[in-house]
């Protein structure tokens, strides 16, 4: 909420400032009756009132409109005057929508929000676009041009022409031209103009352009229609090509989620041979740790929110790792050499952990927020890449690399491999096997915990979180070949990509069924997974 407000203030200042220079100054007070009008009537009236404000052409109304769209424009019940508000505990801080001066505070019951709906938000977005095309900040101009593009309003052509004439930033210029083209196609200008516009959009080549062009195609005739048809075909072709790239991306993204979920299991199950049914709950503990960290940050240090995940990572590792060590010391160490019984005991433990979380945090979903750098998306060609998915892929790779490093390059890793390969021999060489067992199990659980941090960004944080991943995790580890971390990596990525390539054709449900059948058949071909050891050592 405060972010929005800061933005509005900043934005207002800039807009106001530019007004002072660019256009003859109007007295803000002359706008006030129009702004106060907003408090009256229902959506239909509000829409008209917005139109009236925009008709003044005065950028000074921009902050009020922006606040209206964001749902922070309120009116005072006593006198009907309108304010931008910010919630501060039980009261609201008031700001004058035109002068942007602080106007004190008001209680909850003294003010009332001016309601907006989607339609109004669309109107406001378009209006703000045309009002701020000349703003000094290129970012603001860019946003404005994008808004004008979406509005496709022929009336904005004039404003765009003026803005284009003085535009210096090339990227903004491009968007303005596209916006102009969109508006031209929606107007009754001559064919030559329209064909020009079609070319501009054809260059643009994305789905927005496609959407516009399809419209043109169906609503026009003759040369324009032909030009539109050609452009549509061209764009559709290029989008189809990008679609396979997009699919691979989705597959890698799903694969990295599977990898994260499975990699801890690759240690506790793959390396140590514990059929760890409580693995999912370790992931869950990691996710809940993230929740607790964010809660603490929200209440005591809101500034740190952007870093919450970095704070949560080591804590989640510790929390899950310690629980893992406790489980190993308390239960599993009595069961080495009896792997099937670990299934039983860890199943019991998983029930207990689920219920424990349910009792402590309640049965409902808990909110784990995405920091700004995990939100949103960017375009790469015609692909949309969301930041959270991208970071999760990067993160999964880092975790994998880190784990490899620990197991291959540290003495702890050496000990782990020694103990899991030949316990008695390792013990007689002076390795403290109980410690190594506990720490290895702790490591696997801890990794599951940090996977939980990542998964909290894309999935529910609820007591059922772990159950959703346990089967997939076992599939990945077994498909890749038990005891081989590279197998887990390749297995996860293969299953992810296969799944995503099947999904558009078969649908999500059938796609998943096919993947399972594929695993069953694959295991027939390679009964010990993708990366199986060969030779006579395998079967004793």
């Amino acid at each position: 909420m405060s972010l929005v407000r800061t933005f509005i203030l900043l934005f207002g200042l800039i807009a106001g400032f530019s007004v002072n220079i660019a256009i003859a100054q109007t007295d803000p007070e002359s706008l006030r009756p129009l702004v106060n009008e907003l408090a009256k009537g229902k959506y239909a009236e509000t829409e008209k009132q917005i139109g009236a404000l925009v008709a003044t052409g005065d950028p000074a109304v921009a902050p009020a409109l922006e606040a209206l769209g964001a749902g922070v424009l309120f009116y005072r019940k006593s006198d009907g005057s309108v304010f931008i508000t910010e919630k501060a505990g039980k009261t609201y801080k008031l700001t004058d929508p035109l002068t942007l001066e602080a106007k004190g505070e008001a209680g909850k019951r003294e003010v009332k929000k001016i309601k907006v709906n989607n339609k109004l938000r669309r109107v406001i977005r378009a209006a703000l676009g045309s009002l701020t095309l000349m703003a000094p900040d290129p970012e603001v101009r860019k946003t404005a041009a994008e808004a004008v593009f979406k509005a496709r309003d022929p009336d904005s052509i004039e404003a765009l022409d003026i803005a284009l004439a003085s535009e210096t930033d090339e990227s903004v210029q491009l968007i303005m031209e596209q916006a102009r083209a969109a508006a031209v196609l929606n107007s009754d200008m001559d064919e030559a103009q329209k064909i020009n516009a079609i070319e501009t959009l054809s260059e643009m080549g994305n789905r927005d352009a496609l959407s516009l062009l399809i419209n043109v195609q169906s609503s026009s005739e003759g040369v324009v229609r032909d030009a539109a048809t050609i452009a549509v075909e061209k764009i559709e072709k290029s989008i189809a090509a990008w679609d396979s790239a997009q699919n691979i991306w989705y597959g890698l993204s799903l694969g990295s989620v599977l990898l994260l979920a499975a990699i801890g299991l690759a240690i506790t199950f793959g390396v140590m041979g514990v059929i760890n049914m409580a693995h999912g709950e370790m992931v869950m503990i990691g996710a809940y740790t993230t929740f607790v960290v964010q809660e603490l940050i929200r209440t005591s240090a809101p500034g740190l929110f952007e870093y919450s995940l970095f704070i949560a990572l080591p804590l989640a590792f510790l929390a899950s790792g310690l629980v893992g060590i406790a489980i190993e010391r308390g239960v599993i160490r009595w069961l080495y050499g009896r792997p099937l019984e670990t299934l039983l005991a860890t199943w019991g433990i998983s029930l207990i952990l689920q219920q424990a979380v349910r009792s402590i945090f309640g049965p409902t979903n808990r909110e784990v927020g995405n920091p700004d750098w995990m939100s949103g998306a960017f375009e790469l060609g015609q692909m949309t890449i969301t930041y959270n998915r991208m970071w999760i892929i990067v993160f999964a790779m880092l975790v994998f690399a880190g784990l490899m490093l620990v197991l291959k390059k540290t003495s702890f890793g050496l000990n782990t491999r020694a103990v899991t390969q030949n316990r008695r021999m390792a013990a007689s060489m002076g390795i403290r096997t109980p410690w190594v067992d506990a720490l290895t199990f702790g490591l696997g659980s801890g990794i599951a915990g940090i996977a939980g941090v990542a998964l909290s960004q894309i999935d529910n944080v609820s007591p059922n979180l772990g159950q959703g991943y346990i089967i997939d995790s076992f599939m990945v580890v077994v498909f890749g070949g038990v005891g081989n971390l590279w197998g887990t990596l390749v297995g996860a990525m293969t299953l992810g990509v296969v799944n995503k390539f099947l999904e558009p054709y078969a649908g999500a449900v059938l796609g998943k069924i096919f993947v399972l059948v594929f695993i069953i058949l694959f295991i027939q071909k390679r009964p010990r997974g993708l990366f199986a050891l060969k030779g006579r050592a395998v079967e004793a």
Partner: protein, 412 residues
């Protein structure tokens, strides 16, 4: 030859077990139907159905114990066969509804009517006849198990790899049956049954009858399992469990043995499912859930793996605990159940039956061999001792490392 095969199934332990089951089959329905409700000996219908359900679970556990306990195949997908049997029965019961459905369509089940299905899919044909449905109850799970096992055992998929692909199998079926396009009622499954072989499914007599049928099925399957495991084939199975490649080098085609018990076990699970459905009144894809299969394995482990009786006891006990806990401690019962699992694993590693009759397995083996060796073709009759108290043992009881014997090692 056949008679001696079946006769082999009997001994003291089996006898006691069968006597108790037999008594239950007679007494529970009698207590429900004949004893007046005011009497303290009256068995409420609620309890009859509940116990009937336990018995079908026990049969499922028995099926799992046959493959896991004796042949070392850890199936994490047996619920799939159970559910398939259940669906076959459910389809029969759906067809019996006839025009009594809410839309009154004589052919189509309700869920098809409101999803605008125009005609009955081909795989629903025949299910209006009980004999056909009954055949399908064993045939469908059996066939699936046969095909699956044919590939898996030939490819020598063993250990956790086999366990995980059985899990993949049941998971895939779960997703498939969830699909409404499959024509099995999607998530809601099949429900609202009216009657079975003309008997009102809600009538007390039908419930008592179903209870008795479940008990009888359990007895018959128990006898079969018992005879099987005590035949030479049973010995081969245990040999496969303990040292698969040794068995191969002796010339036994291990995959045939596995396929045989695997298919048989799937058929038994199918029967269990078919008896389960009319008693609980619904079959839906939730029965395919991998967690269900894991639970069955846990019942067997708690009762005692490789003991048959243990599987039955484990299934009844755990489910009884669940019934009790969910009512008595609704908010925290998972702590209790989870704790029970951990406790049993740590302190009763051989399960209940295994712990109580420790060493008895070994004795029994000796007894049998001794009897054979003594030249009598008669299978040994009931030895004069109960499971808990081994008597007249000439050979000193093996001391510490008995675990290697009575404790079956996983196939892996």
């Amino acid at each position: 030859m056949m008679s001696s095969f079946l006769f082999r199934a009997m001994d003291a332990r089996a006898g006691i077990f069968m006597a108790i089951l037999g008594a239950a089959i007679v007494l529970v329905p009698a207590g429900n139907l004949l004893v007046p409700e005011t009497s303290p000996f009256h068995v409420p219908t609620y309890a009859v159905t509940l116990m009937g359900k336990y018995l079908t679970y026990a049969l499922l556990a028995l099926a799992v114990d046959l493959v896991w306990g004796y042949c070392g195949i850890l199936s994490l997908g047996h619920a799939a066969f159970f559910a398939l049997g259940g669906y076959a029965m459910g389809m029969y019961l759906m067809r019996q509804i006839g025009t009594r459905g809410v839309y009154g369509d004589p052919i189509l089940p309700d869920f098809m009517v409101f999803l605008n299905w125009q005609e009955l899919p081909w795989y629903w044909y025949g299910f209006d006849m009980f004999w056909f449905a009954a055949l399908m109850v064993v045939l469908v799970p059996g066939l699936l198990a046969f095909i699956f096992g044919w590939f898996a055992f030939r490819s020598r998929v063993t250990g956790v790899y086999l366990s995980i692909i059985t899990q993949a199998l049941t998971y895939a079926l779960l997703l498939a049956f969830f699909r409404n396009d499959m024509g099995f009622g999607g998530n809601n499954g099949l429900t609202d049954f009216k009657d079975l072989l003309g008997f009102d499914i809600q009538a007390d007599t039908t419930r008592a009858g179903l209870f008795a049928a479940s008990g009888l099925a359990l007895v018959v399957c128990f006898l079969i399992c018992r005879a099987l495991t005590r035949s030479k084939l049973g010995k081969v199975l245990v040999a496969v469990r303990d040292a698969e490649s040794r068995t191969r080098f002796l010339g036994y085609r291990v995959e045939h043995y596995k396929l045989f018990v695997w298919t048989l076990s799937a058929m038994m699970a199918g029967i269990a499912g078919a008896l389960y459905v009319p008693q609980v009144g619904i079959i839906n894809p939730g029965e395919f859930a991998p967690a269900n299969s894991i639970e069955v394995v846990i019942w067997v482990a708690i009762g005692g793996r490789g003991t048959l009786v243990g599987a039955v006891i484990g299934a009844v006990l755990v489910n009884f605990a669940k019934t009790w806990f969910t009512a008595a401690l609704p908010e925290i019962w998972l702590f209790a159940l989870g704790g029970l699992f951990v406790f049993v694993t740590l302190f009763l590693p051989k399960g209940i039956v295994g712990t109580f009759s420790q060493g008895w397995t070994a004795l029994r083996q000796r007894k049998i061999s001794a009897a054979y060796e003594a030249g009598s073709d008669e299978p040994p009759t009931a030895p004069p001792h109960s499971p808990g108290a081994p008597a007249n043992v000439t050979i000193p009881k093996p001391s510490a490392p008995v675990s290697g014997a009575a404790e079956p090692q996983p196939a892996e």
